[in-house]
C-alpha cells in the first residue's frame, strides 16, 4: 500500500488523522476519497472541487508534483505539503 505523509497542520485539524497513513488507491483522487472515508474532512481540506486540489496544497507522488489524476502505485510515497503561504 502507498505511504501517505500529511502536513502537521492537517493532522492537528482532523481528529484521529495520523502523520503517516497507508492507503491503497489507483490515483491521487481515489486516495483522497479513501482517506476521507476513514477521516472525514480530508477531502474538503485538500480539494477545491472534485477536479482540483486547493491552490495552496501540493501533493507529490514519488517525488513528482501530482494532480488528482496522477497514478499511485502500491509502493508509492505520497507527500501532502502546504505551500509557502500567508503573511
Amino acid at each position: 500500500m502507498a505511504q501517505v505523509f500529511f502536513p502537521r497542520a492537517l493532522a492537528a485539524l482532523i481528529a484521529g488523522l495520523p502523520k503517516v497513513a497507508e492507503c491503497q488507491a489507483a490515483t491521487v483522487q481515489e486516495l483522497i476519497a479513501t482517506l476521507d472515508q476513514r477521516w472525514p474532512g480530508v477531502s474538503m481540506c485538500l480539494c477545491a472541487t472534485s477536479a482540483d486540489l486547493r491552490p495552496h496544497i501540493n501533493v507529490y507522488v514519488d517525488g513528482a508534483r501530482a494532480t488528482l489524476a496522477t497514478p499511485v502505485q502500491a509502493t508509492s510515497v505520497v507527500r501532502v505539503l502546504t505551500a509557502v503561504s500567508g503573511g
Binding site: P7, A9, L10, A12, L13, I14, A15, P40, G41, M44, C45, L46, A48, T49, S50, D52, R54, H56, I57, T82, A83, S85, G86
Partner: protein
Amino acid sequence: MSRVLLLVGTKKGAFVLEDDGSRTNWHLRGPFCDTWPIYHMMFDDATQTLYASGGNPWFGPGVWRSDDLGNTWSHSNAGLTYGEGGPPITTMWHLTAAHGALYAGADPAGLFRSMDQGQTWTHVEGLRAHPSRPSWNPGGGGLCLHSIVAHPTDPARLWVAISAVGTFASDDAGETWTTRNQGVRAEFQPERYPEYGQCVHKLLLAADGEQLYQQNHCGVYRSADAGASWEEITTGLPSDFGFPLALHPRDPNTLYVVPLNGADKGRFVPDGRMAVWRSTNRGDDWAPLTEGLPAQDAYLGVLREGMAVDTLDPAGIYVGTSTGQVFGSADEGASWQQLCTNLPPIWSVETALLEG
C-alpha cells in the same frame, strides 16, 4: 456577578478578552483556532457555545466551536460547499444563531445553515438562485456575505447583506429572496440607485425588531419598513464612508458608527483623531465620542465586524482596530480605555455575557 467576554477575531487566530466583572480589568487568552484567520466569532446564549468562522489559505473554509468558553476548540467544514460545478468557498465570514439554527455566510457569497451546532452544514440554496446572482461582482473585501439578520420572533424572516451586491430579505426561511436596496446610493455604479450592486458594509436590526440600519460604502441608512425603502442619515457625520455599525442593546434609536476619511483617502479615522460617533435619534443628529481615545497621530482603521456592544446597563461599547488595538467603554461611549494594544490585525469583535 455578570462578566463580559470579548471575542476578538484576528488575521492570526481567535482571542478572548475576559472581564473580571468591572469592565476595566481584562485578561487576554489565545490565540485559538490554530491561528487561522478568523473573520467572526459569536456566543450562542441558548447553548453556551462559542463559534469562530474563517478560512485558511491551505485548507479552505471552516467553522470552529468551543463548548468550554474557548479553552478547547473543534473544527468542521462538513457541507461547506456549493457542490459539483460550484465555485470553491474560501472563507466563512459571519455567524448568527437564531431559532435553534446556526447560520453562516460565505465568500463567494452564499448562506449556510446548521441544525446540529455547527457539526454539519446545508447550503440555503434560494439565495444563490436569485436571478441577480450572475451579476454579483466582488468588492475589495471579496464577494462576502457578511451580515445575517434574523427576526427575533419570526423564524421565517431573514435579511442578509453581501459586499458590493446589497441587501436581500426572505420571508420564507431562505427559500426565496428579494432585493432591499431602494434609496441606497451606489456612486461606483453607472446608475446611482440600482436595484442591486450597492456596497453595504454592515446591516443590523434594532432592539425593537423593526428598524434596520446599515453602514454602506456610500453613507449610513435607516429603514422602518423591513428594508423595503431606505433613508440616508449621513448628514452630521464627517464622512459617508465607514465599515462598522453597532446598535444599542435596548434603545432602537441609538446607533454607533466609526466614520473613516474616505474610500480613496486611506480609510483611517479623519485627521488622525479616533472617534466613535453616536446618534440617539435614529441618525437625525450625530455627536463624536472621544474621551480616552487617541486624539492625534492615530491613523486607525476599523473593519466591518470591528465594533460590538454588550447588554449590560449601561451598555458597553467595544472597538477593535485593523492594527490590533481594542478600545472599550463601560458607559455607552462617554469615556473609553484601551483594553489591548498589540494584537494581530483585528477583523471582528463580539461580546458574550456570562452570569454568575
